[in-house]
Amino acid sequence: MAADTSPPELRCSGLAKTFPGGVEAVRPLDAVFEAGRTTALVGPSGCGKSTILRMIAGLEPPSGGEVTIGGAPPAEIRRRAGLAIAFQDASLLPWRTVRGNIRLALRLAHKPADADAVDRLIRLVGLEGFADTRPAALSGGMRQRAAIARCLVTGPELLLLDEPFGAVDELTRRQLAEDLPRIWQARGTTTLLVTHSVTEAILLSDRVLVFSPRPAALVADIAVDLPQPRSVAMTASADFLDLAQTVSGALARGIAEAPDTLAAQ
């Protein structure tokens, strides 16, 4: 299950996006994401962080700059099924069961169908007893958990998570925040997490990048040096609260300095 190749380093050089028609979504971004680390991208909703994630995955062509993953363009890692992405909208196939959706990822990635691994992941995301249920019968949060399990099953080298806990209830969310990082950290997966929750960003990552409202421009690059493994209890610690204040401050600064804050909202 573990990745065959060592996790790659991800590099964005002058990565920018202006949509046809002149809407600027992303200001040129230079960033290096070290192999095996988890980085959270934080910003106001609609700022363009999802666009950054899509450009990194190669789903959206950049209008400037480039993305390299282990020195190669994104298409390369996709070709060897080393990438997995989860969206806020769970994007499950409605005509397949939870198990069917997860197994489909293995099939698309040309990996052997490992029934035990699939069941383990289903248990891990708390969907025991729902393996043979179709998405329509699940709550929004359960669907998102199924989508996360689908992401993890292929053992990706690069994991891109776009607001993956948006619809998950608070209690489960805390549980997942403790459990999931263990999986990708154990595998040394390079992970990017888009979120607008400051708490989630700090709890799950080694580093937080804060963006301004659209067009997304990097406002702050904050290292999270809390010890691993983390637990929800840590959110009450002084270190955590300091960090949270720093991130929130950076967010507020970004909003204040944006030229047309109201329009962006």
Partner: protein
């Protein structure tokens, strides 16, 4: 956020490809005509243009007449659809009866209704306008019934929370939610109205495209026949495009092409069967009462205006009843032999071409104009031509039925595949899945609701096609039997054929709907909720 990007850039290139596609189609037509010169079969574009230049006045006057009839029928038919939808809204319990009765009337074969309408209306434009109206109202009614309920329940709660009633809901919520569905119906209706008007002219009219078409076919005037087919097609395409343009101006989103999700009967599959049967019985009873009552009230002559009792007697108690049943059965069997393969071939072609276009989008430039043209050609002008080209055997009839079924299926399937959720396709992209994987795992299943909606509506279309071909071209099957019965005053046979054919069409429709419910309960369970 990123969705508009790709469509905006591809529009001009798509337009160029379409123009190129049209050019190649016309070139192919001309070359085929040159190759077949002297066979009295095919007139090419240059022949058609020459004819049109020489007979511009005649053609223009005929076109004005037919378009006037079609427009009147279009307006009346669509107003009737709106009125029926409103009635269903006021009396929700009657919705099933209304849509059932509407389907039954829509399934009446025009070969038989034409002369009956002529008798009722006498000379004039009555049958032309009525047939045009009958050809359009159902395809508007069904999407409208869906559209009027297409708003989320919370919107209604919102209106209610301000203390406003059903009227405010209709104005602020339902009407707005239904608008895209209304336009989806109107777009399909436009070419159908032209066809209805032309068939109406076959029942005894002084002027119009239908009159010229009969004359040209009889007189071996190949140029005139193809010129008429070309003009009728061009006009139908223009009307289709005009409705589309208006829809785009009025609506901000393109109109939905899915005609109707299956009925929103909540759960209880076992009760569903009984309810469906009870509803069918109620609709049948209502139809019989309306039929009998209207004829008695109007004092329609029993010589040609047969009542329900007459049809029952003709089929069961008359001394020759057994013979009548054999005649009808044989004709129906002969018709089914062509209609069923044509119907299935049309469905397969429609879905298949849509799949090919999804795999190879560049082909759309050629495929789309051909598909729209095929759909818009009034079948009354093409039926004899296609049979001339392909022969009176199975090939010609099956082809025409397939053409009638093909286009709506194709458009619906294409639309359905585009409904495939973009993020799911992104997930597939993230695994670098190939187009075939996307097609099999995402796009084909996503297409199923649209496919079934089209397959249901295609049942009456296939019956229309096969009966028209049999009547005008091959002289076989139930279509020919109906025409022949009318000419020898065998109105018992005509009405029996009409009733049987309408019932069989409804049964076919119901069978497709039942299959649809089964399949969609797996593949689109959220649409059933």
């Amino acid at each position: 956020m990123s969705a508009p990007a790709s469509t905006a850039t591809s529009a001009p290139a798509g337009g160029r490809r379409t123009a190129l596609g049209i050019f190649f189609v016309i070139l192919g037509w001309e070359l085929a005509a040159r190759a077949l010169a002297g066979a009295y079969l095919l007139a090419g574009p240059t022949d058609v243009l020459t004819y049109l230049a020489a007979n511009a006045g005649l053609m223009w006057r005929a076109l004005k007449v037919t378009l006037t009839e079609a427009a009147a029928g279009f307006v009346i038919g669509n107003l009737a659809a709106i009125a029926l939808a409103a009635l269903a809204l006021i009396l929700p319990r009657a919705e099933r009866a209304i849509s059932g009765l509407a389907l039954l009337v829509f399934c009446l074969p025009i070969v038989a209704t034409g002369p009956i309408l002529r008798v009722f209306f006498g000379p004039g434009l009555g049958p032309q306008i009525t047939l045009a109206a009958l050809a359009v109202y159902y395809t508007t009614l069904i999407p409208l019934l869906v559209g009027l309920r297409a708003a989320p329940a919370t919107w209604f709660d919102l209106v209610r929370s301000y203390g406003r009633g059903p009227m405010a809901m209709l104005v602020h919520v339902r009407a707005m939610a239904a608008l895209p569905y209304l336009f989806a119906g109107l777009q399909i209706a436009a070419p159908a109205a032209v066809l209805g008007a032309m068939v109406g002219e076959f029942t005894g009219a002084e002027r119009g495209m239908g009159v010229l078409a009969i004359r040209a076919m009889r007189a071996l005037d190949v140029e005139a026949t193809w010129a008429l087919a070309s003009v009728a097609t061009a006009v139908s395409i223009l009307v289709y495009a005009a409705v589309r343009r208006i829809a785009r101006m009025v609506l901000r989103d393109p109109p939905p092409l899915i005609l109707a999700p299956p009925r929103h009967s909540a759960g209880r599959p076992r009760n569903g069967w009984h309810a469906a049967l009870a509803n069918a019985a109620a609709v049948g009873g209502l139809a019989v009462i309306l039929w009998w009552g209207a004829f008695e009230a109007a004092g329609v002559s029993p010589f040609f205006g047969k009542r329900p009792g007459d049809v029952l007697a003709f089929l069961f108690t008359d001394p020759h009843a057994a013979m009548h049943r054999v005649t009808l059965g044989a004709a129906l069997a002969e018709t089914a032999l062509y209609a069923v393969p044509g119907y299935l071939a049309g469905l397969a072609l429609g879905a298949g071409l849509a799949a090919i276009l999804v795999l190879r989008p560049a082909l759309a430039g050629i495929a789309m104009p051909v598909a729209i043209a095929l759909r818009s050609v009034p079948i009354v002008t093409t039926a004899p031509l296609v049979v001339l080209l392909l022969g009176r055997g199975a090939a010609g009839t099956v082809t025409l039925v397939a053409i009638m079924v093909f286009f709506p299926t194709f458009v619906a399937c294409l639309h359905g595949m585009r409904q495939a959720p973009g993020q799911v396709l992104d997930v597939f992209d993230s695994y670098a899945a190939g187009p075939l994987d996307r097609l099999i795992h995402v796009q084909l299943p996503a297409m199923l609701p649209a496919f079934f909606a089209a397959a249901r509506m295609a049942v009456p279309a296939a019956v229309l096609a096969v009966t028209v071909v049999e009547w005008l071209a091959t002289g076989a099957g139930i279509g020919s039997l109906m025409a022949l019965s009318a000419s020898v005053s065998d109105y018992g046979m005509l009405w029996s054929a009409l009733v049987l054919l309408a019932l069989l069409s409804c049964a076919g429709y119901a069978a497709v709907a039942a299959a649809e419910r089964r399949v969609l309960s797996v593949y689109a369970s959220e649409q059933l909720a």
